[in-house]
Symmetry: none
Subunit: 296 residues, 2 copies
């Protein structure tokens, strides 16, 4: 099956005639006719009914139309990117985000933003949930906090719910439900002993931490691997089929998710575009982020 024959059949679908398609494709109409005839022969399927309305796609012709449109989208997107014609907005936006957001929430949104604005390079600076590892300047920060500080301005997009999770494997071996003291725990590294989670584990299950990690992704991986229970963000835990949730969202861990930028960057077109896009994208995820039962 020749891919370019699919393109020709698509043009026939759209024009409703061979000569119309030929004009659009800048081919001789005889060529269009022959290529369609060859395609129908190779597939051994009639793609069009020929009648007073001209060429009308059969059911198979409709299937072909959908596939060919997807191919056209991919090819045209490639053409625009390679020719540099799709570069209205340019520049770099530096985004600082926590690792669980960077890995669990942002990739599809960043991919979509990239499609919309291929001229904008997003530099993602991953920082740890459990520590503020760097003082690097970022144009935009996605922060789990309860209020913006300093010269940062922004908008609160969602509540981030946290809950207790454990893997099905682990639970098969440790069927203790919500009896936290009997569980083994994947806990924050000791340098983060001041966090709410660390305090929770020390209070509820002293000396039951069997593994410690310094990133939420690390704890997530270890929890999923069956080492122990952990308190994870609901949007991370609920999306992982290996995990079961053992508690409702715990209010003592709740915090807001803010999209922040520097006051003086708000007018920059690329930053504006990014902020607008990310705000809308993350808001569309807010029930998932909150971890309400509807999304469990």
């Amino acid at each position: 099956m020749e891919w370019d024959d699919l393109r020709i059949a698509l043009a026939i679908c759209r024009a409703g005639s061979l000569s119309g398609a030929a004009r659009v494709l800048k081919l001789n109409h005889a060529t269009v006719w022959r290529r369609l005839k060859a395609l129908e022969a190779s597939l051994d399927i009639r793609l069009f009914e020929r009648g007073p309305e001209g060429y009308v796609p059969t059911a198979a012709g409709d299937e072909l139309r959908r596939a060919a449109e997807a191919m056209e989208g991919a090819a045209d997107g490639l053409d625009r990117r390679l020719s540099g014609r799709d570069a209205r907005l340019t520049g770099t936006v530096r985004l600082s985000a926590l690792d669980s957001f960077a890995l669990g929430l942002l990739p599809p949104h960043l991919a979509r933003f990239r499609q919309l604005h291929p001229g904008i390079t997003v530099e993602l600076a991953i920082s740890s949930t459990l520590a503020n590892l760097t003082r690097r300047d970022a144009d935009v920060a996605l922060r789990a906090t309860n209020a913006p500080t300093g010269s940062l301005v922004g908008q609160r997009l969602a509540e981030v719910g946290m809950a207790v999770y454990a893997s099905h494997d682990y639970l098969a071996r440790n069927p203790f439900g919500t009896d936290w003291a009997r569980h083994e725990w994947v806990a924050p590294d000791e340098i983060f002993a001041h966090t709410a989670f660390a305090k929770f584990v020390e209070r509820e299950a002293p000396r039951r931490s069997v593994l410690r990690a310094d990133t939420e992704s690390g704890m997530h991986a270890a929890c999923a691997a069956g080492i122990g229970a952990a308190v994870l963000a609901c949007f991370v835990g609920d999306d992982d089929p290996r995990l079961a949730r053992l508690s409702p969202a715990l209010p003592e861990f709740d915090h807001g998710l803010w999209l922040l930028t520097h006051e003086d960057l708000r007018g920059a077109a690329r930053v504006r575009a990014f902020l607008d896009f990310m705000a809308q994208a993350i808001r569309s995820d807010r029930s998932r982020l909150k971890g309400t039962p509807a999304s469990a």
Copy 2:
């Protein structure tokens, strides 16, 4: 731009040579060469670097690859639907993979496999580079090892190169080049003190580990955040624009990447399909995995 030329360029991406692509496409190699040359001329962009590794896609070549794969998915899906051959294969394939492969290498291939075989569910069990966290059974394992063990059989697909990386921010503050003893290090957690990397850091820079992690992803994130230098897989470090490579691929860390399965699963159609697909997909990434200078 001819759609069928994109298909040819995709075959070159995968085979890494003109003659390899010609064999797959059942074309004469001279035809492949000319069609590529014509495509590069029409786009006025170089799509491949030609070197000792064969044909290696440029950035534009990678763009083309993605678009062509999407087109291929649409075309193949159409072919199957029109021929009634769709949905032959069903079932579950459980894949065990190391976290750096799971996060850095596999997602596009798994997405592609899903397109080809929507009836097959792939369950991904992520395990840590640095520890074998679980004894769960997997149908297929992607392992960085030097020989298969036990009842596992498989094929060696690539060399995985490891090298020293550090972020540009870190290097601006610590311009010590290859003087390892003066660097600060992101190192494996102490429970993994037996690994080649841990021994390397103890030998080259005793007591200079400023942060430890129990996953390669965690070390990667910390290295990228500017905490210190780290030994990372080349396919992870080279693809991260925040990182600079401070060494060539280090032979003492080199290991093979094997695609393994149980002897008794080799005949299962879904596993066979998965193995065949993944072997070809990962082979096409082999120069990236090896971390040769051409891809740095």
